[in-house]
Structures are given as structure tokens and as C-alpha cells.
């Protein structure tokens, strides 16, 4: 399935405005959460669940793994767009500093661009969301871009079809 079914609940393209802030997501990074994340996303690198080992690699503490951080961006976007959205790309997901256990990571997003593309099943809305993670010392991941496809109203197709 390459386009967005119109019947799904959630945000529609014409409801989106550039500059719109997505509701933040706050994720306390406890040992418990990091261990659950490692078990479920299969990144068992000891730097993510073993303080002693993480320190032997030069880090201050164990820290959240890549899959978890990236999926936190999906959580932010999915909370905002609902079932109707489809994530088409993630770019600029750059990890600048470690997200250590014992801190709270906030995930923030802002709509930075919108456009309409013609797909095989008609027009589809493309929304670019700038996303970043922040810890106590500032930005830890990103800002990068999540590209989301959203359904456009049938009226858009009628008005824009020659």
C-alpha cells in the first residue's frame, strides 16, 4: 500500500499548518525502560543496559539505544497524526550526545513544510515535521525531518483535477 486510505481516523492534510507544534512527548529514561527497549528492539549492546560497561567505553552512564531514540520520533508523529498518517522517510536523525539513564528525554516537533503530490490513487498530502530530542543539556538527537503522508479531502481532488 503506497498511499493513505481516506477512511482512517486521524489528521487530514488540510488541517495542518506550517509552524504548528506537535504535542511534546516526555520519556523518563529509567533502567527499566532501557532494558525493555533493548529486549524488544534487539539492540543488546551493553552500553545500553550496563553502567560499568558503558563507562569502560568512555560514556558517563548507560544510554538509550538508536532504535529507541528513532522510535520515539515515530511515537511523537503517530500521536499527532493518528492512523491516517504514513511515515515515508526519516532524515537527519543525528545523535549528537548520549541520552543517559536517569534523565527525562523530551521529543519535540514542528511542521516545517507541506505540499501535495499526485499518487496512483490521487492526491496525497506530504508533511515535513522537524523533530528533535532534548535532554537536560539541550538537543541530543536531530533536528531531523520525518516525512508524513496524510490524506487530502476529496474536494481537493475535485478542485484541482483539470
Amino acid at each position: 500500500m503506497s498511499t493513505v486510505p481516506n477512511a482512517l481516523t486521524g489528521r487530514r492534510f488540510d488541517e495542518v499548518t506550517v509552524g504548528e507544534q506537535l504535542p511534546d512527548v516526555a520519556l523518563p529514561l529509567t533502567v527499566y525502560r532501557l532494558v525493555m527497549a533493548a529486549g524488544s528492539n534487539r539492540d543488546f549492546n551493553s552500553i545500553h543496559h550496563n553502567t560499568e560497561y558503558a563507562r569502560s567505553t568512555g560514556a558517563e552512564e548507560m544510554y538509550a539505544n538508536t532504535s529507541f531514540l528513532m522510535s520515539s520520533w515515530e511515537r511523537l508523529v503517530r500521536d499527532w497524526c493518528g492512523e491516517a498518517g504514513r511515515i515515508r522517510a526519516i532524515r537527519g536523525f543525528r545523535m549528537r550526545s548520549f541520552n543517559y539513564v536517569g534523565t527525562t528525554m523530551r521529543v519535540l516537533g514542528e511542521v516545517t513544510g507541506t505540499r501535495v503530490e499526485e499518487g496512483p490513487q490521487g492526491a496525497v498530502g506530504v508533511v515535513e515535521v522537524a523533530v528533535r530530542c532534548e535532554g537536560p543539556q539541550g538537543i541530543t538527537v536531530g533536528p531531523g525531518t520525518v516525512e508524513v503522508l496524510l490524506p487530502v479531502d476529496a474536494s481537493y481532488n475535485e478542485e484541482n483535477t483539470p
Partner: protein
Amino acid sequence: MTAVDTGSPDWTEQWQEVIDAVGRDFLEGETTWGGDPVERGAIRRYLEPLELDCALHTDPAAARAAGYDDVVMPATGVIAWTIPAAWRPGEVLFDSEDRNAQPVHTAINNTDLGMGPKTTGFFGTDIELDFDREVVAGEQLGRRGKRLVACKPKETGVGRGAFMTWESEIVARPGHVADAEPEVVGRIRIGTYAYVPHPKKDEEAAR
């Protein structure tokens, strides 16, 4: 592999053969398949530490109503579901009782390039993903190829090493159908930093 002399001012020269290998597919087009097909239970567990609530991922009826064959894998799950099995029957995975001993082999930690300096530290730095379509429960994912597209030696706060970028295609096939023709469903670029950690202060003092 050669040992790294962390005190040498010319330590970056040891990375030259890796730099020269930029453009090479280290897997020569081979596909590395995830250890398991995408499964409903594994998706549910993936969502738990995220507290991510979306019926497309958890409710087969909702997913089918939306036009999918089964529940949809979270898009970012492409990393988790392309990780190979950690252990296979007959293998020994743990051979030491040391508290922090690492498994004999792992698909996550730094893999031996077969060239360049030996490094003991490793972490991911950045990722780019493109998704051509959703993946649903029952499909199996793999990464086809592993092309080195960049290598830049650099000393950082944690050690001396190199930033490298690797590119692969994401392919899918019906689960448990090993001879099915893989379909490209996306692409992934992964940045990594492989390094030799700086000596700790007490180790330096002992020198």
C-alpha cells in the same frame, strides 16, 4: 587488522585502507535476514517501552479495515526486524563468567571489517530511512548489501576512531518462504563511530 597505537600522531593513517574501500559493498549484494518474521507479539513488545498507542499496530481488525493484510509494523521497526538471530542451535554464545563479558559474536556491536585498526568502542551516530510501503505481520525483512559510502577518521571525547556510513536496501519476503523473491521496501543509511577509547586517568597515571 592492526593494533592501534593511540599515542601516535599518525594514527589516522591506519584508517587509510578503509577510506580506500569507500564504495565497496562489504556483503557483495548478499541479504542478511532478520532472525524472525514480523510478528504481532513482537510488535506489541516493541510498542511497550514507547507507550505508543495505534490500532494499526495492535488490532488486526483495525489493520484489515484500513486495507492491510495484518497489523502494521512500526516504520522504525525496520532496524529491529532486520537484526539476525543472536544464537543458533549448536553455537556457543557465552564463554566467560566475567560480569561484563560480551557474547562470542553479535550482530549489533562493531563487526570486523577485515581491514583497518582494531576498535573496541562502537556506537551509531545517524540514520536515514526511506519506506516504499508498510510492512505487515507475517513478512520477513532483511538488509541487502552493506556498502561503505563514507569513512572519516576523527578523535572525539570518547576516543580515536572513524565515522563510517553504510547503505543497504531493505527487502521483504513472506515469512518462512526462504526461496521467495525479495521485494525492495525501503533503504537505510547508518552512520557509526568505531573507536579505541581514551585511556582512563588512573591507567594513564600508571604508565
